[in-house]
């Protein structure tokens, strides 16, 4: 599903997170440190680049939904950009449109999972 936004993406991200994506000079350290980057469609620095270019593709990347806020990128960013917060802002743009990424009825073997995982996932993947 495509998400239409009226404000430009960098502005919208700034409004939600207070983060200025233009700080990023594409060194890629965030992607080097991202523990799940090797299984993703786009790397964290590529997602940031989409935002810089006002490309709404950023909102449909797997990356933003699999990011579980480990803050590795934030800690190592030489420009002081809180990349984790940008990822959250991108999720929030989608979630606030009422588009959710988790349906608990469809989770297989849900009874095996601890509530800490279910609560965390529900809070990050639904509105």
């Amino acid at each position: 599903m495509t998400v239409k936004i009226t404000l430009s993406l960098p502005k919208k991200v700034f409004e939600i997170s207070g983060e200025n994506v233009y700080l990023c000079y594409q060194c890629g350290k965030c992607s080097a440190g991202c523990p799940i980057a090797d299984k993703m469609d786009y790397l964290p620095n590529q997602v940031i680049h989409f935002v810089q270019m006002n490309n709404e593709k950023a909102l449909s990347t797997k990356m933003i939904w699999a990011c579980a806020e480990c803050f590795n990128c934030t800690v190592i960013c030489p420009r002081g950009l809180d990349v984790t917060k940008v990822m959250e802002a991108l999720r929030i743009i989608v979630l606030r449109k009422g588009i959710y990424k988790l349906d608990l009825n469809k989770v297989e073997k849900i009874e095996e999972l601890p509530q800490i995982a279910l609560i965390a996932a529900s809070r990050k993947l639904t509105g």
Partner: protein, 283 residues
């Protein structure tokens, strides 16, 4: 010393063994943990949006509960054991302290309840390090653990982001110091602060399986006796990942202990440990 204590959902349910040993070990160290009379789920993860305080309300309610019971404790520290609870409560507390406007918004919503910002959120590891000292662990250790090799695993939430980190985000040493103080060997674990995959276990178990294998690879050559974890979700993912990667790990079943289980073991509090854990570590 008496401290207020927030258990959180996992410690009452899936991670009962964590609470059982945390309370016993704390008692042995002279720490009395006073559980909050009323508490609710902290939320497990906090919201990072600057334009909304919606995700913080659950945590603030817990801080208010602590505020109500403050006269029963010797300090304004609220002790957490689950590391995810720690980060949620600590980060929300930090944000409200630094943003009085957000505190006003929340207080207005919760009226007549009101949070005054007077609680300090800490993790049990900090209490042990700062208020008790690791020397006390050495004194209380009854077992000879000199042949035991342990790999510490921090996960992310205790050490990142910097604002709530209980130790250096890149090179933490608190668990290593704790392990060494019992006489056991702390194996160098280069990926000890990398994410376990967290709540991705709900939507993408393959990703978590892959994560755990990557985390274990560098320490597989070491003949470790067990891993030490501080987080109920890391422990779940590690245990799940070790089973799921049985083939890749050549059938090795590495036990995962909470740091409090490890201390209970060292202190000879075997009756507080679950049979399965005792059998798995076999000390």
């Amino acid at each position: 010393m008496k401290y207020l204590y927030f258990p959180g959902c996992s410690l009452k349910n899936y991670a009962k063994r964590y609470e059982e040993t945390a309370v016993a070990v704390a008692k042995a160290l002279g720490i009395e943990l006073i559980e909050l009379k009323r508490w609710n789920c902290c939320g497990a993860v906090s919201g990072l949006a600057e334009d909304s305080v919606f995700h913080h309300i659950a945590a603030v309610r817990d801080l208010v509960r602590a505020q109500e019971q403050l006269d029963e404790a010797d300090s304004n520290k609220l002790v957490t054991v689950c590391s995810m609870c720690y980060r949620v409560l600590a980060s929300v507390n930090n944000r409200l302290k630094h943003n009085p406007e957000d505190l006003d918004t929340i207080n207005e919503f919760m009226s007549p309840e009101e949070y005054n910002g007077g609680i300090e959120v800490v993790h049990l590891l900090q209490i042990i390090k700062d208020d008790i000292g690791f020397d006390r662990i050495a004194e209380l250790t009854k077992k000879d653990l000199s042949n035991i090799k342990v790999a510490p695993y921090y996960g992310c939430v205790l050490v990142r982001p910097k604002e709530t980190a209980i130790d250096d985000p890149n090179e933490p040493t608190i668990l290593e110091e704790l392990i060494k103080s019992t006489g056991a060997t702390a194996v160098e674990n280069p990926l000890r602060t990398e994410c376990c995959g967290s709540y991705n276990v709900v939507t993408n178990r393959e990703l978590v399986k892959h994560r755990i294998l990557n985390l274990l690879k560098p320490i597989m050559r070491e003949n470790i006796d067990f891993l030490i974890s501080v987080c109920p979700l890391c422990t779940f993912n590690l245990e799940f990942g070790i089973k799921a990667n049985k083939k890749e790990l050549h059938g090795r079943e590495i036990p995962v202990l909470y740091f409090t289980e490890f201390l209970a073991l060292a202190f000879g509090l075997d009756d507080k440990l679950e049979k399965e854990v005792l059998q798995a570590v076999n000390i």
